[in-house]
Amino acid sequence: MKVEVQFFARCREIVGAKQKVLEVEEGMRIKDIIDTLINEYPELKNVKLIVSLNHKYAEQEEKLKDKDEVAVFPPVSGG
C-alpha cells in the first residue's frame, strides 16, 4: 500500500522535497516511516519531529492504511 508523506520547514530542507510517496506494508506504523526517513536523512535526528496523520496530530504508534497522508515537521512557530 502507498502512503504520502509531506515535509515542512526544516524537515523539507533536509529531505529536499515537499512530499514523497512511500510504499509500506500492511500493519506498519508511523514510527516505521520515521525510522526509514532518519536512516536515509540522518540530519533529521537533530530535529524534534512532530507527525500528523490525515491532517490531525498523531502518535508515532498509529498504524497506517492505504492512501494515508502523513506529515513530518518541527515544532510549529506561527502567529
Partner: protein, 126 residues
C-alpha cells in the same frame, strides 16, 4: 483563513459586527525588525485550515463570545507587514480579551505554520 494577500482589519471588523456585539478585541502580529530583512512563512494548508476552524469552535464554546475570525498570511513578508489577525467579538470586553489571548497562545502551539527569518545575507533555518 490562510492567505498570501494582506488583509484589512476594517473589513474583518465589518464582516464580524452583529447587533449583540459590544466589544471587538483584535490581535495583530507584525514582522518585527530584529536585524532581519523579512520572513518566509510556510504553512501546511489543509491541516492549518482545519486547526484554525477547530480553534474558532473551541473559543466559541470556552468563552462567552459571539464571533471569532483568524487570518494568517503565508509566503514572503517584509518587516512591518501583517502576519496574523485574530478578532473576537463579544457582548462584553473581558471575555473578548480572554478569548483573543487564548487564541493567539493556542495558535502558536497547534497550528502547523512555520516562520523562517530571512537575514541580511542568507536564509536562516526555521
Amino acid at each position: 483563513m490562510i492567505t498570501e494577500e494582506d488583509f484589512s482589519i476594517d473589513e474583518l471588523v465589518k464582516k464580524m459586527k452583529k447587533p449583540e456585539i459590544g466589544a471587538i478585541v483584535t490581535f495583530l502580529g507584525v514582522v518585527r525588525d530584529e536585524g532581519i530583512r523579512g520572513m518566509e512563512v510556510d504553512v501546511y494548508d489543509e491541516m492549518a485550515e482545519e486547526e484554525l476552524e477547530k480553534l474558532e469552535r473551541d473559543a466559541l464554546k470556552k468563552f462567552e463570545v459571539e464571533a471569532v475570525e483568524i487570518v494568517h498570511r503565508k509566503g514572503s513578508l517584509k518587516v512591518g507587514e501583517n502576519i496574523v489577525a485574530i478578532l473576537v467579538g463579544a457582548k462584553h470586553r473581558k471575555e473578548a480579551f480572554r478569548a483573543c489571548e487564548y487564541l493567539i497562545d493556542e495558535l502558536k502551539e497547534r497550528v502547523p505554520i512555520w516562520k523562517k527569518e530571512l537575514n541580511e545575507k542568507s536564509e536562516q533555518t526555521y
